[in-house]
């Protein structure tokens, strides 16, 4: 036998449909003989009814506010990955532009030097060098590559090497680009300091060949730069404490040595361009078209 207090807990559970058949039968027997517990059953029942009935209507605008919250949240979630993708796409585009510029700059400079007056050629060169500086600024780790030839510049071609390397350093942003290994020139066809000059893998050279559109050595006007008038190309990048010997070195630069270097670099950049362009293009396409994502 249970106490009334225990039966009252059973009453609570009865309302919640938690009683077994046996418990329910026992409670019913007790309630039929106990006025207090019967009253309790009725009281709990009416209380239950009062608690559950007459629900208030939802205030006007709540439904819309809830849905607006959800839509905002959904939008925020969709945009988060989109922002990352947009950034990557921008980076890939930038890499592409830099790469294209790097591949074409030697040619452009060559053209300019061929066609323009000495002074104009000089200013073109300055602009080019400044452009190169801007690209290197993005990759400060590559600075030694630029600084070293600048210090020991003994020939015009080597300056090209420095510039090209700098321009290339800017283009290295492309993540999948194979790292070119600076190698000594095996053929040593020209009497030039080979150690500073990067060169593509020997295997890739025959494919592209040496048939270059600009086989000409550096044109005369270039060598005849009026030294005092021409802006010192490296002055802005690496302040040279003693420009005079360098100027002399530039004058010394044999016209025969420079073409070799220029040609090597043109080949190098052709290779880089041919590898880098499709790579960047593929990245841009992938990021914008998202072929991995199912379109609904």
């Amino acid at each position: 036998m249970r106490s009334c207090s225990e039966y009252q807990e059973l009453i609570s559970r009865l309302l919640d449909e938690d009683l077994s058949a046996d418990e329910q039968a026992e409670l019913e027997r007790h309630v039929s003989g106990c006025a207090e517990c019967r009253a309790m059953l009725d009281a709990f029942r009416s209380l239950s009814g009062a608690l559950a009935e007459d629900l208030e209507e939802v205030p006007a605008g709540l439904h819309e506010s809830i849905m607006a919250d959800a839509r905002r949240e959904a939008l925020r979630r969709r945009q988060a990955p989109k922002r990352v993708r947009r950034f990557l796409a921008m980076a890939a585009c930038a890499a592409l532009v830099i790469l294209a510029a790097a591949a074409n700059l030697p040619k452009l400079q060559h053209d300019a030097a061929m066609l323009a007056a000495p002074k104009e050629a000089a200013s073109t060169e300055t602009a080019y060098l400044e452009a190169a500086d801007e690209t290197t600024a993005e990759a400060p780790a590559e600075e030694p590559a630029e600084a070293e030839p600048a210090a020991s510049a003994s020939d015009r071609g080597e300056q090209y090497a420095a510039d090209d390397a700098a321009a290339y350093a800017g283009a290295v942003e492309e993540p999948n680009m194979p790292e070119p290994k600076p190698e000594p020139v095996p053929e040593s066809e020209a009497a030039l300091p080979a150690e500073a000059m990067p060169e593509p893998e020997p295997g890739s050279l025959p494919i592209l060949g040496y048939e270059l559109p600009y086989p000409e050595p550096l044109p005369e006007p270039y060598n005849a730069l009026p030294e005092p008038a021409a802006p010192e190309p490296y002055a802005a990048a690496a302040p040279d404490p003693d420009p005079a010997p360098k100027a002399a070195a530039i004058e010394e630069a044999a016209p025969g040595a420079a073409p070799g270097a220029v040609i090597e670099h043109r080949v190098l950049f052709r290779v880089l361009f041919l590898i880098g362009l499709p790579l960047s293009g593929a990245v841009v396409l992938l990021l914008f078209l998202k072929p991995w994502k199912k379109h609904k």
Binding site: A43, L62, S65, E73
Partner: protein, 206 residues
């Protein structure tokens, strides 16, 4: 809304279809709001809590396992937010809306009377207003558990899951809450006499 419809809805939402959420909102906003309203006693707070609860539900829907009803999960969020809100109120007592001076003081000291007479309760009219105030006078945890049971129709098992309680604790807590509410309603002045407005009962209680 059946369990199957609920599941379909949730899968659509998780696949990025935010409009599918509207089905769940329509199905449960009224109960969620009324739960909050009875927990807090203030319509503006109840509205804010309901909105917050739905946003929370949307944000963490991916963590919702389909082994329980969505409503159970939602009401748990609502009632926990309500408890947070009530705790914040206690830290700033001047903002308390639950008690009026003369009745409130007494309600705080209310201790269930073992010898109360349930017959007396039945002789009085259970007005909507009196039940509201009686609910407000309950301790927050008792009000929460009683509303989850009475208003939202959650089973003991579901309540136990939602509040991390043993089934035995759930049963006895609900019983104590009911009893305490009866005792409070029987106190003088909390319920009008049944005779005065017996025929109005249906209308008032609507």
């Amino acid at each position: 809304m059946t369990r199957e419809q609920e599941e379909t809805c949730i899968r659509q939402i998780l696949n990025g279809d935010v409009n599918a959420f509207e089905g769940l909102v329509t199905a449960y906003e009224k109960n969620a709001y009324n739960l909050a309203l009875r927990m807090l006693g203030d319509p503006q707070d109840a509205e804010d809590v309901t909105q917050e609860a739905f946003l929370k539900a949307y944000q963490s829907l991916s963590s919702f396992r389909l082994d329980s009803r969505f409503s159970v999960w939602l009401y748990r969020i609502v009632s926990n937010l309500c408890l947070d809100q009530l705790r914040r109120r206690q830290r700033r007592p001047e903002q308390s809306l639950t008690v009026e001076n003369d009745e409130g003081e007494e309600a705080q000291q209310d201790v269930p009377d073992e010898n109360f007479s349930p017959e007396a309760l039945l002789e009085r009219k259970l007005t909507r207003e009196a039940v509201r105030r009686g609910l407000d006078a309950l301790p927050d945890e008792q009000r929460q558990i009683l509303l989850l049971r009475e208003l939202e129709g959650m089973s003991y098992e579901e309540i136990g899951q939602a509040l991390s309680l043993e089934p035995g604790t759930v049963k006895s807590r609900i019983f104590r809450a009911r009893k305490r509410l009866c005792v409070w309603l029987l106190r003088d002045g909390n319920l009008p006499d049944a005779f005065s407005s017996k025929q109005e009962e249906g209308g008032v209680a609507r």
